[in-house]
């Protein structure tokens, strides 16, 4: 089932690269680290060099934001060469203990956070949540995401979705604790074998449900399902698309005010990889009082927050300012009160950066679902 028979060259179509350098030119990580993906694509051509290349720490700096893939004139995915090198390290077993533990946790407990599977639905406590039953048709089947399920800071995304769906009387259901990791970070960390296993198991599992569409709360799950799961029965959308559609159809509306300057930070996994830029903005503009600001580096040029690509488990060796801090400084310069995001990883990294810079009194980082939750009158802290 796996592509072991292909050579590295074939697998990543290294011959297709014309070494134009647009990839490295657009790579946000180069702002703070030495990562030169063009160079790696060039050097990887020599199969005998692969083991040596795999040992270079820079390969772990890639956030898998896909800017390089978006910019490549030949339609190649330079980042995948880096992921391929990571795979060599993974297969040797000699990885960072943090990476080891995260991957093992996905295998044993269905999430990378070393939490017990049995606790995955604990966030639902106290809420009136409709649970999906295999075979029972449902319009919107929600896929929560490991981080949103377990991390207290971002559980609000799921909780608020439940409240909004209930209030608006939309047909929906959530999966119980049998929901397993989509494998987004498993893929980017290079654990190919485990990722293939997840694709197989999750496809079978999700196809057991009868849903019009699967709605993901996280852009990571959204892109992973769309890019890597060819056999899913239902189509997969991101919640911003759902809410945007419901508003257009007149099935959802919200009132209430938020007199704030809000700048939207395009999550790489939603924008660059999913092409979704306008829906989140429309959702924000529909909130009365919101003055929507724009970063200079927006949409396809968004400055990656460095949450993806396995970065939650691997520290960069670079001592330069984290991109998330640069982003927050930009927001401060713009005079933004709120940095709005539509991704749990962006929430965590940007808020961390904001606290490190000491800006908590002047601004906050909020997921769109948190802002909408406030409007629906019972805010989830």
């Amino acid at each position: 089932m796996s592509a072991e028979i292909q050579t590295f060259r074939e697998k990543y179509d290294l011959l297709g690269c014309i070494q134009c350098g647009r990839c490295t030119g657009g790579c946000p990580v180069t702002v703070r680290a030495n990562l030169n993906v063009r160079q790696f694509v060039n050097d990887a051509y020599d199969e005998s060099k692969l083991d040596e290349l795999a040992k270079i720490a820079d390969i772990w700096d890639c956030t898998a934001c896909h800017t390089c893939a978006v910019r490549c004139p030949k339609g190649l995915k330079p980042l995948e060469v880096l992921i391929g090198l990571r795979t060599l390290i993974i297969e040797s077993g000699k990885v960072e203990p943090t990476v080891r533990d995260a991957l093992q946790s996905v295998l044993l407990e269905g999430n990378p956070w070393e939490k017990s599977r049995a606790a995955r639905s604990d966030w639902m406590e106290g809420l009136d949540v409709r649970i999906a039953e295999p075979g029972v048709p449902v319009e919107n089947l929600f896929f929560v995401c490991c981080t949103i399920a377990y991390d207290r800071r971002v559980q609000a995304i799921a909780k608020n979705m439940v409240k909004i769906m209930n209030k608006a009387g939309i047909d929906y259901a959530f999966i119980d604790e049998n929901e397993s990791c989509c494998g987004s970070e498993v893929f980017t960390l290079g654990e190919e074998g485990l990722f293939e296993m997840l694709i197989e198991d999750n496809t079978e599992f999700l196809n057991g449900y009868t849903a019009n569409q699967i709605v993901t709360l996280s852009p990571h799950c959204f892109t992973t399902y769309n890019a890597h799961y060819p056999d899913l029965k239902s189509k997969v959308i991101h919640y911003t698309q759902l809410l945007d559609q419901l508003i257009t159809d007149g099935r959802l509306s919200y009132s209430g005010e938020l007199q704030k300057k809000v700048v939207f930070h395009d999550p790489c996994y939603l924008g660059k990889q999913g092409g979704i830029y306008d829906e989140p903005r429309r959702l924000l503009q529909k909130i009365e009082g919101v003055e929507l600001l724009e970063f200079e580096r927006r949409r396809e040029r968004s400055l990656c927050c460095e949450g993806g690509g396995g970065k939650m488990w691997v520290e960069s060796e670079s001592k330069k300012e984290r991109l998330a801090e640069t982003r927050i400084k930009d927001a401060k310069e713009l005079g933004a009160d709120i940095v709005a995001v539509a991704c749990p990883f962006c929430v965590l990294t940007l808020e961390d950066a904001m606290k490190n810079l000491g800006y908590e009194e002047e601004m906050r980082v909020s997921e769109i679902m948190e802002l909408l939750g406030e409007l629906f009158n019972d805010p989830e802290a």
Binding site: P97, T98, E315, K355
Partner: protein
């Protein structure tokens, strides 16, 4: 029923606290078991050690022989095996320590006698000896009953009880070693002292200690800032040192150091007994842990049930402010 034989633990001329703690437990049981407590000291050049122990009011039996110049679990086993046959004690007690666990289980198998490891309490009523020990890092207690036997074997957890105060000097009796020859198949080579790092935490006045709750070493600066604000040294539990966040010579616990600061701040440490045993000497203990059932709270003077990341930054800030 019979006497209680306590195997003294000593090293490099010093008597370890567990010896006295066992005497406290044994003395409590002796009446019920209708016997007396005898401490057994095995070693070489033991005059000082024997005198020290005898000062706690319990008779000391000494085997003093160059054969036992260095600790050797197999030699201890041979001696104890012979003494069980000769003296027929009702209860044989050793510390649940690196020494004790190296010979007691083997002795139990060899003599086919009932054995309970890491006991924290013992009781003897109606001819029935029962032991209490713990499972799941102290979250559950287990009560075990020994089936009838001529001798019972137990190892006792360090720090389970307070050591008694010295009292009157009891008698010291030297006996011959039942073991006459060296054992070729197991040899002591040497001791290697623990690395002495830049800070000797056993001498620190204030310690800020971290455990598993730190999550990763990139969170250390937070802790270091707190420590700097109050001129504390940073230490850690075994989880923190195994993970490489804190150097080994700053590990607090039974396999690390015993500390006696006037203030011990435990952050994200669950408080497994191996750790708590190392904190016995602290005057004031502050514990921050998000698990309300964390055993660390049982030794804390001040407790905050919360995520350390929510507490530490503000704590540091406020301390800096108040100290000016």
């Amino acid at each position: 029923m019979g006497n209680i034989l306590v195997v003294a633990e000593h090293r490099q001329g010093l008597v370890r606290d567990i010896t006295y703690e066992m005497l406290a437990i044994a003395s409590g049981l002796a009446k019920e078991m209708d016997g007396e407590v005898i401490t057994l000291a095995i070693g070489s050049g033991l005059d000082e050690v024997a005198k020290k122990i005898a000062g706690y009011g319990v008779k000391v039996m000494v085997i003093d022989d160059p054969l036992f110049a260095d600790f050797n679990a197999d030699k201890y086993q041979k001696v104890l095996s012979a003494l069980i046959d000769d003296l027929k004690p009702a209860l044989l007690m050793a510390g649940h320590t690196a020494q004790g666990v190296d010979f007691m289980p083997a002795l139990a198998v060899e003599k086919k006698l009932p054995y309970v490891a890491e006991t924290i309490a013992l009781s003897y009523t109606d001819n029935q000896l029962k032991a209490t020990r713990q499972l799941y890092s102290g979250k559950v207690n287990a009560r075990l009953a020994f089936k009838q036997a001529a001798t019972y074997l137990v190892t006792i957890r360090e720090g389970a009880v307070e050591a008694p105060e010295p009292s009157s000097a009891a008698s010291i009796e030297k006996i011959d070693s039942p073991l006459k020859e060296d054992l070729a198949y197991r040899k002591f080579v040497e001791y290697i002292e623990a690395e002495v790092g830049d800070v000797d935490i056993t001498q620190s006045d204030i310690l800020v200690s971290v455990g598993r709750g730190l999550k990763e070493d990139k969170n250390l600066p937070l802790i270091e800032e707190l420590a700097a604000a109050i001129k504390a040294d940073v230490a850690g539990s075994r989880a923190a040192t195994d993970a490489g966040w804190i150097p080994h010579d700053r590990q607090v616990g039974t396999s690390g150091k015993s500390v006696k600061p006037k203030l011990y701040i435990a952050l994200g440490i669950s408080g497994a007994f191996q750790h708590i045993a190392g904190v016995k000497g602290a005057k004031i203990v502050v514990a921050v842990n998000k698990d309300p059932e964390a055993p660390i709270f049982s030794i804390a003077d001040y407790a905050i049930v919360d995520d350390l990341f929510k507490i530490v930054p503000k704590l540091t800030e406020k301390l800096k402010e108040l100290k000016g």
